[in-house]
Structure formats: structure tokens, C-alpha cells
């Protein structure tokens, strides 16, 4: 599904990724953990095509196709989704308008028929109920005045609407209370499917109790320094990242 090979990347002349290798099979859930500033969000931005980051070497393939050549919106249409670590506020743009525009843009790019207002509303109602987002929130401007937890829920709602093939969740658990964590995890689990892969970035083993990963990676100083099963997360919780810091250096 996703194949990242020897990826190096920089921003403003500063090298962040140093030969990162990662493969995620169809239907798999991988978790990435790692110290602050290791390059986790950088990886998520590069996967989704943020132009400020310059890829200086290596490749990223999705289902055999080189996605580095694609614009962010083309990637979205191809099924790449990023739940942002810091969701962005867009004043004056109603959540419902935003969702409608996004979904229909993606559908159009995929050669599917655009949904009319009624069909959209129905779909939205169904998904928002699942994730516990109120009608009132959909009337508000995108992320404006949302609490930290509401923002994260909203990211998952968008994911559920867009039904991506490959979703990157960048610290979606941060800022969620226990109940929200459960609801959000259920939302993610409901989307798990044979042809859909996830990359879950987190600092807390706790999330992985709800979203059971197939593989756990440690990312430090711009590369994957260790890969293991779910038990690796428990080990990290106990022993921290110090053991990897020298290795990566």
C-alpha cells in the first residue's frame, strides 16, 4: 500500500528526515512514536504534499504509484488523509460548507457524481452522530473557537466523511478526554478495512489500547530506529527514548 524508501527531506535548509524507510500493507495499522521534534509531523506533511518541505531524496509510493509528483488535492482524491496535529481555523467558513466542498471536490476528482445538499446532509447527520459532533458545531466556522478536543473530533468526522485509503492521524489523541478517546477510537476502528491503511502518530501507549496497531515504529532524529509489535509501545512507556537517541545520532 505505502512504501517509503530512503526518504530525506528539509525545510528552510534544515535537514529533518534522514533516510526514512517504512512500509505499510493494505489493511494494516501502524503506530509511530518518538520524541518531540523527531520529524513525525514532518513525515505526515510530506505524505500529504505540503510544499514548504523539500524532499531531497528517496521515494514514496502508494499502490505502486509515485505520489511525490502529486499536488495535495490530487493525493486527497487518491485517498490520502491527514488528521492534523494542529487543525487550522478558517473564519467565516461554515463547517457544513467546508465538508460539502471537500467531499464533492474529492468525488469529482474521482469521477463520481457530486452529492446534492440533501444527500450530503443525510450523510453528515449519520457520521456526526457516530462521532458525537453536534449540529451546532457544524454551523460554526471551521475550527474557530473549537476546544482542543472538539478540533480532534472534527478531524475524525472529516475522515469518516471522506473515507480515505490511507489515513495519517497526527496526535489525534492529544487533548482528548477519556470518553472522547473512546469515541474517536471507535470511529477509527469502524473504518478499518482490508483496503484501508492507517498511520497513527502518538505519544501515549494508552491510545493503542483502543486502536490496536499491527506494527509499532520508533522515529528518532529523522529515521525509523526500531520496529516491533504492540509490546514495543509498552516498553517505550517504561524506558523512554534515551536508548534510541544515540543510535540515531
Amino acid at each position: 500500500m505505502i512504501k517509503i524508501k530512503d526518504l530525506t527531506a528539509e525545510i528552510d535548509g534544515k535537514q529533518i528526515l534522514n533516510g526514512l524507510n517504512l512500509e505499510i500493507g493494505a489493511g494494516e495499522v501502524h503506530a509511530i512514536m518518538g520524541p518531540n521534534g523527531a520529524g513525525k509531523s514532518t513525515l505526515s506533511y510530506i505524505l500529504s504534499g505540503r510544499e514548504e518541505y523539500e524532499v531531497t531524496g528517496g521515494s514514496i509510493e502508494m499502490n505502486g504509484e509515485n505520489i511525490l509528483e502529486m499536488s495535495p488535492e490530487e493525493r486527497a482524491a487518491a485517498g490520502v488523509f491527514l488528521a492534523f496535529q494542529y487543525p487550522v481555523e478558517i473564519p467565516g467558513v461554515q463547517m457544513s460548507t467546508f465538508l460539502k466542498t471537500a467531499l464533492n471536490s474529492v468525488r469529482k476528482a474521482r469521477g463520481e457524481e457530486e452529492l446534492d445538499a440533501l444527500a450530503l446532509l443525510k450523510l453528515m447527520k449519520q457520521k456526526q452522530k457516530q462521532i458525537g459532533v453536534s449540529d451546532e458545531m457544524l454551523k460554526r466556522a471551521v475550527n474557530v473557537g473549537f476546544s482542543g478536543g472538539e478540533k480532534k473530533r472534527n478531524e475524525v468526522l472529516q475522515m469518516m466523511m471522506l473515507e480515505p485509503k490511507f489515513a495519517v492521524l497526527d496526535e489525534t489523541d492529544s487533548g482528548l478526554d477519556i470518553d472522547a478517546l473512546k469515541v474517536v477510537s471507535e470511529g477509527v476502528n469502524a473504518l478499518r478495512a482490508e483496503d484501508r491503511s492507517f498511520l497513527v502518530i502518538t505519544h501515549y501507549q494508552r491510545l493503542l489500547d483502543y486502536i490496536k496497531p499491527d506494527v509499532v515504529h520508533v522515529l528518532a532524529k529523522g529515521k525509523i530506529v526500531k520496529t516491533g509489535g504492540p509490546e514495543l509501545a509498552l516498553d517505550l512507556e517504561k524506558n523512554g527514548y534515551a536508548q534510541f537517541e544515540e543510535k540515531a545520532a
Partner: protein, 493 residues
């Protein structure tokens, strides 16, 4: 222009005017020649007045204005830059040979423009308007210098509402026109308004009688079609005691390499407890990517809240024109009267806009509210210029002003020039201003969700303008939203 052609035109004018005098009865057939000779002179003013079969008092008014205009300086305080206008290089009267073939001249329009209109849904709309059946909005269509159609006249008449071209009003309701025309914007107000008073050709007239709520939206659709033609329309709207009307104005013009002149005058009058809501979506041709061509939009719009507790609200979405010079204003004379100004001004490429408002508080307990959103892209320049004036007698006057500028890219400019002049210590004036850049984070967030770059920009800009867009009547809001997207095309990436 060479002396020879000048001389020829003068001769033409003289011949035409002479012909008019000689064959005043044969006037109707004369309409076949559908343009006045190029240039501006007293004879041209007489020509226009004669063409329109006007009463003597109006010709006198025009001539007075023309003579005054000759002596007036060009307004120079606006932050716009353009070569001196050669007033002799324009036609001041152009009429389609008959109203039926007017829309057909769309065939002559540059295909690139038609494409734009197609995206806007305007060609269809225009036909609907001209057919006058489907559209629930009553429409007056002004094509170059003349009104070619006014719909729903009868239905409105039943309610006592008068909605017709200003030419018809001069014939049919001379008392009303005489009483109000020039009462809010005197002919000597400024050079552009003065020119308009001398050579205005058509426009709309609305009168809502006492206690009547106009049963439908009224609208005028202006179009400059002829080359080198100036459009000088004049609109006069009167809401008598307790009356209400919502009026919309839309404008388009074909792409021409020459700069076309548009100098309109709009006067609004509200009596006690009356309200006028005036909305504009201005989409005159802005010129090409390099700043060639486009409309000079020099407009004087002013409303007089004559009666107590009356209200005038201006909403404008300005996306077109090479140069916009426009300050829809309110004179709050009646005690407790209210003025509002909601504006979106978008400039791209080499467009220049200097727009804003003037709120003059005269009566007690008068209130005004100004929300201005300026968006600049490309090499364009946009200025908000506003004045809030509180006269000594305006106890407890209140104003709230908010000006927000949004910059797209690094080669455009945005300026805010607020003047405040308060002569009454009980006045409360609030002013807020922000300038921001379109954020890469916002654009990327949208694009990550599959929304293309230009659509993302349009979405964000529409969000930025939401407070203003909400004030537009529904049918216009959708069109205006699309227009915002179109006018910003090519400004990102």
C-alpha cells in the same frame, strides 16, 4: 486626436443637431442612427435632451451642470493612478436600434468574456431577465444609454409602486423627479457627478408610497456594450413614510482594450420610518492581466435619511472595474435614523479601488455601522476611505467601523484611511482595523481535504467576507460568491 477628426466630429454634431431642429417630428425614425457623435459639447448635451424629448427645465439643468463641469477640477485625493481622461474621446449617447436586438449583440462579445459569464450563469439569466417571466425579481435593463425593458411594472403598480426607467419617470412623474432629483447629490457635488447631471441618459426610478412594503425585490441590470461609450446612469429611489424596498444592481461590460467611463449617480431618500436596502454586485470589466483596458467606475451614491427612524443600508460587492472610485454614503438627518455600509472590494492584477463611505450624523440618536472587507491580489491596490462626521446637534450619535484587509501574495497593497470628525461630545465612535495575509496553513488544510487551490482561496475569501455577503439577498449571494472565485483566478500558485 487630430485636429482634422476633431473638426469632422464637430461638423457632424452641428449637422445632427441642426437636423434635429429641422425635423423634430421625424425624431422616431432618427433613432435608427443610434449614437451621438463622439465628444462632449453643449450641443451634445442638447442632442441627448432632444433625443429623449425632455422638458425644458431638464435641459436647463443639464446645461447648468455642463457649464459648471467645465470649470471643475478632477478629484485628486483618491489613491488611484490613471492617465488624464480625454472626454472628447467618448460617445455620450448610444442606443441599440431596437430593444429586441439588444441582447443579440452579445454575439459580438469576446468569447473569453462569454466563458466567464457562462461560469456565472449570466447569459441564461440575462435571457430570463429579458423574457421577464421566470425571474421573481422585477428588473430594469439598461443597455448602454437606454433602458430596454422593465418587468413586472403592472403588478407593482397595483400596490402603488412606481418602477420604471428614469426617462419614463421624467415624462410620467415629472413632479416627483423635479422634487427629488439632485436633492441628495447636487449637480456641483463633484466633477463626476456633475458630468452625470449634464449627460445622464438612463437609469431607474423607484417610488414606494406611504406604508407600502414593496412586494418583490427590484433590480437593475446595467451593461455597457458599445465601444468607447460612457455610461452615465442616474438612479433615484424614494421610500415614503413607513415604506420598504430592497433594490439590487448588477453591472457587466464586454472586454475592450480602451478604458470605458462609467459615472453614475444614485440618490436615495427615506421618509419617516422608511427603509431602503440597496445592494450592488459590480462586475464591470477590470482590464486584462497587464492592466490594459477596463472600466473607470466613478460613482456617486448617497442616501438621505430625511425622516425620523428611517434607515438606509448599502451593501456592495465590488470585483470589477480597472478603477473604482465610490463612496456610498448616508446623511442621517432624521432623529433616530440609521445608516449601514457593508462592502467587499476585491482587486486583482492591476486593478485599483478607492472605496468606502461617509456617514454624516445630523439628527439625534443616529446610528451608523460600517463593515468593509478589502481583498487585494496580484499588483493591485485597494484603499478603504471612510469618514464619520458627527455634527454638533447629533446627541448620542453612535458609529461602529470595522475594516479588514486581506492580502494575497506580496505585490499588492491595502490601505485604510479613516477620518473622524466629531463635534458632539456625547457621540460614541468605535473603530477596528486588521490586515492579514492569506495563510498557507489555511490553504494547505483545504487542499489536503481535496479542495483545489483556487477553490480553496475562494472559500477562504468568502469566509473572510461572510458578514457582508450575509446581507445580500439570496439570489445575489450565490452569484457574488462565484464572482469572488472568478475574480481571484490566477492569484495563487
Amino acid at each position: 486626436m487630430s485636429d482634422i477628426s476633431n473638426a469632422r466630429i464637430e461638423q457632424q454634431t452641428i449637422d445632427q443637431v441642426n437636423a434635429l431642429d429641422t425635423y423634430s417630428a421625424g425624431f422616431v425614425t432618427d433613432i435608427e442612427s443610434d449614437k451621438a457623435p463622439k465628444g462632449l459639447s453643449e450641443d451634445i448635451v442638447r442632442f441627448i435632451s432632444a433625443k429623449k424629448n425632455e422638458p425644458e427645465w431638464l435641459l436647463e439643468y443639464r446645461l447648468k451642470a455642463y457649464r459648471h463641469w467645465l470649470k471643475m477640477p478632477e478629484p485628486s485625493w483618491a489613491k488611484v493612478d490613471f492617465p488624464e481622461i480625454d472626454y472628447q474621446d467618448y460617445y455620450y449617447y448610444a442606443a441599440p436600434k431596437s430593444s429586441e436586438n439588444a441582447p443579440e449583440t452579445l454575439d459580438d462579445v469576446d468569447p473569453k468574456l462569454l466563458e466567464t459569464y457562462e461560469k456565472l450563469g449570466i447569459p441564461l439569466r440575462e435571457q430570463e431577465i429579458l423574457a421577464g417571466v421566470k425571474n421573481p425579481v422585477a428588473v430594469d435593463v439598461v443597455f448602454d444609454s437606454v433602458s430596454v425593458a422593465t418587468t413586472f411594472k403592472k403588478k407593482l403598480k397595483e400596490k402603488g409602486v412606481i418602477f420604471c426607467s428614469i426617462s419614463d419617470a421624467i415624462k410620467d412623474y415629472p413632479e416627483l423627479v423635479k422634487k427629488y432629483m439632485g436633492s441628495v447629490v447636487p449637480y456641483h457635488d463633484n466633477k463626476h457627478a456633475c458630468l452625470n447631471a449634464a449627460v445622464f441618459t438612463d437609469g431607474s426610478f423607484v417610488y414606494i408610497p406611504e406604508g407600502v412594503r414593496c412586494p418583490m425585490e427590484l433590480s437593475t441590470y446595467f451593461r455597457i456594450n458599445e465601444m468607447n461609450t460612457g455610461q452615465f446612469e442616474r438612479t433615484l429611489i424614494i421610500a415614503d413614510k413607513g415604506a420598504y424596498v430592497s433594490y439590487l444592481e448588477g453591472c457587466t461590460a464586454p472586454m475592450r482594450d480602451e478604458n470605458q467611463l462609467h459615472a453614475a449617480v444614485v440618490e436615495l431618500i427615506t421618509h419617516d420610518d422608511a427603509e431602503i436596502k440597496y445592494s450592488t454586485v459590480q462586475n464591470w470589466y477590470p482590464g486584462d492581466e497587464n492592466g490594459k483596458g477596463g472600466i473607470y467606475n466613478f460613482v456617486t451614491k448617497r442616501g438621505l435619511c430625511e425622516g425620523k427612524n428611517s434607515k438606509i443600508s448599502w451593501t456592495q460587492v465590488e470585483t470589477g472595474s480597472a478603477i473604482t472610485w465610490k463612496y456610498p454614503s448616508c446623511i442621517l438627518k432624521g432623529d433616530g435614523s440609521q445608516g449601514e455600509f457593508y462592502s467587499v472590494a476585491i482587486t486583482n492584477n492591476h486593478q485599483q479601488a478607492d472605496t468606502g463611505t461617509k456617514m454624516v450624523h445630523i439628527g439625534k440618536n443616529t446610528k451608523s455601522r460600517i463593515i468593509a472587507k478589502g481583498i487585494s491580489a496580484g499588483h493591485s491596490d485597494s484603499t478603504y476611505r471612510g469618514q464619520v462626521k458627527v455634527l454638533a446637534g447629533a446627541d448620542n450619535a453612535r458609529n461602529f467601523t470595522q475594516c479588514d484587509s486581506l492580502l494575497i501574495g506580496g505585490t499588492c497593497g491595502a490601505h485604510t484611511v479613516p477620518y473622524i470628525d466629531a463635534k458632539n461630545p456625547t457621540a460614541t465612535l468605535e473603530h477596528e482595523a486588521t490586515t492579514s495575509k492569506i495563510s498557507d496553513d489555511q490553504l494547505f488544510y483545504c487542499r489536503q481535504r481535496g479542495i483545489g487551490e483556487e477553490e480553496a482561496l475562494a472559500l477562504i475569501v468568502n469566509g473572510f467576507c461572510r458578514e457582508v455577503m450575509q446581507n445580500l439577498p439570496m439570489e445575489f449571494a450565490v452569484e457574488a460568491q462565484k464572482l469572488i472565485g472568478i475574480s481571484l483566478e490566477g492569484s495563487v500558485g
